[in-house]
């Protein structure tokens, strides 16, 4: 775990890809319900979890993310009927490949959060941020040019 020079706490940078129809609305609900979740989570809205190209995940790591989480509608509830089924397969294989390359497998996660689950959204993000804080800075998968 890396702690910076001023011995401040390590602040992880977390990127969350949230689908427009469920998880992003879930995040909204968490906000309007005044539930707190870490400010380290940067949300990127995507039309559907299926829109998340594996390259997006890698790009996030390249630019210095310590953890990447993808949220979508619960399986069966996709706004486009089947998008998240494809996303589920893709992410399973991608995460398995990252693990195969020796990158910490806990740094990536998929969670299904519906528009009504503001509470769950906050809980998921708190939990993920806690995990990433425990793991510390991501040194295995990132572009050193972006670390300066």
């Amino acid at each position: 775990m890396q702690v910076n020079e001023n011995s401040k706490e390590f602040k992880p940078l977390i990127v969350a890809f949230c689908c427009n129809w469920c998880s992003y609305a879930g995040a909204d609900l968490a906000g309007t319900s005044r539930l707190s979740y870490p400010a380290d989570v940067k949300i990127i809205r995507v039309p559907c979890s299926c829109r998340v190209n594996p390259m997006f995940i890698l790009k996030a790591f390249e630019k210095g993310a310590d953890g990447v989480i993808m949220c979508g509608c619960h399986p069966g509830d996709c706004h486009y009927t089947t998008g998240n089924y494809y996303a589920r397969r893709r992410m399973t294989l991608l995460f398995s490949m990252l693990d195969y390359l020796g990158v910490d497998k806990e740094r990536v996660r998929v969670e299904w959060v519906s528009a009504a689950e503001g509470q769950r959204f906050a809980m998921v993000m708190n939990d993920f941020a806690k995990k990433i804080t425990e793991l510390g800075e991501n040194v295995k998968l990132g572009d050193i040019r972006c670390k300066k």
């Binding site: 594996p54 397969r89 992410m91 995460f95 490949m97 195969y100």
Partner: protein
């Protein structure tokens, strides 16, 4: 090998002379017996033995060449038609491109099926002759085993007699097989209009002596740190020549994401460790579920990076998570990544649950 080459030449000549095919994609000789180059023959007289070859070094997958050859032919016909129309002639008088004869080894036919499935080639324009293959030799392995100054290689059944300017050497063919042949999927053609096989093997025989998932399993059993070190070692040698991509019969994009300046990932050199990994993960991912494990990527890598270990990891995962699947087994299969099973698909968290290392 001598016998089968003769049969291939004879058949190709017949078809060319009868006008049933307009061109033949095969292999031609080079300066050394092992530097065999894919080539397109259009005249029967060019198809002499000695110029047309089929030997233990014809490892390259000719399916890949079909894409460009067919595209060129169709373009040529279209241009001719447009010219005719401009001159006031009837464009329908211009003959079509005709058929292309291609010689495919058993493993190449998987790629062929995959290309048909993805509509990359038009079946009606191709005549496939499946040729028997008993495993191709890896010249790199032969060189590593101490053969330098090679002047001649004689194929003697299970042995390869290598003549060099420093003396003669003999190798057991099974010791110098290409990685893809050591893990051969089988000697049965999955698509062919006709097959040339003077001595057919009994059904089911001819699989490679090695377990093709052995390498993947070995890596999976390592700790994450060891795996990380292994891949850093391997991928740090990548010179980003893109030979793996350009030789791959599954990489058929007209414009690759790594060539597209708008993709944000185009690059011509690996400036950092990350770029090495990025390229290889994404390339393997783009062919995941479509990769027939033809082994061209590892064969062509000038740096000898075991790229098949990335592709086979995806194959192994797909088999484990979604049921056994062999890309290119038959035409029209639905690839696992453009498919789903709403009820039974595993959640991505399975990667964490698998635990262990």
């Amino acid at each position: 090998m001598q016998e089968i080459t003769g049969l291939m030449v004879k058949r190709a000549k017949e078809l060319l002379e009868a006008g049933e095919v307009q061109r033949v994609i095969g292999w031609t000789t080079g300066d050394f017996c092992y530097d065999v180059t894919p080539a397109v023959f259009t005249k029967a007289e060019d198809l002499e033995e000695g110029k047309f070859v089929y030997n233990s070094f014809c490892g390259s997958n000719l399916s890949k060449y079909l894409i460009q050859t067919l595209r060129n032919d169709i373009n040529a016909v279209n241009t001719a038609k447009a010219m005719a129309a401009r001159k006031g002639e009837n464009p329908d008088d211009i003959p079509g491109p005709g058929k292309t004869l291609v010689f495919l080894k058993p493993c190449d036919t998987y790629s062929f099926n995959q290309l048909l499935t993805e509509h990359r080639i038009d079946k009606s324009l191709v005549y496939v002759i499946g040729v028997a293959c008993r495993g191709m030799a890896d010249i790199e392995k032969i060189k590593l085993m101490g053969a330098s100054g090679i002047t001649k290689v004689i194929d003697a059944g299970d042995k390869l007699e290598v003549k060099t300017i420093y003396g003669d050497k003999s190798f057991d063919k099974k010791d110098v097989l290409l990685e893809k042949c050591a893990c051969c999927k089988g000697k049965e053609h999955k698509y062919a209009d006709e097959v040339i096989d003077p001595e057919p093997l009994p059904e089911g025989e001819g699989k490679g002596p090695m377990d093709r998932m052995a390498g993947v399993t070995m890596l999976e059993e390592m700790t994450a740190e060891e795996r990380y070190a292994f891949w850093n070692d391997q991928l740090s040698r990548c010179i980003k020549c893109y030979a793996c991509r350009n030789a791959c019969p599954a990489c058929t994009c007209m414009k690759c994401v790594f060539d597209n300046p708008r993709s944000g990932v185009d690059s011509k050199a690996n400036v950092t460790e990350f770029e090495e990994k990025m390229y290889h993960i994404i390339r393997a991912f783009h062919v995941a579920g479509r990769c027939t494990d033809c082994g061209e990527c590892s064969r062509v890598c000038p740096q000898g990076i075991p790229l098949h270990l990335l592709n086979r990891k995806f194959i192994k995962d797909i088999n484990e998570f979604y049921g056994d699947y062999q890309a290119g087994e038959a035409e029209g299969q639905r690839a696992p990544l453009v498919n789903f099973d709403a009820e039974n698909d595993v959640e991505p968290s399975i990667v964490n649950e698998k635990g262990g290392n």
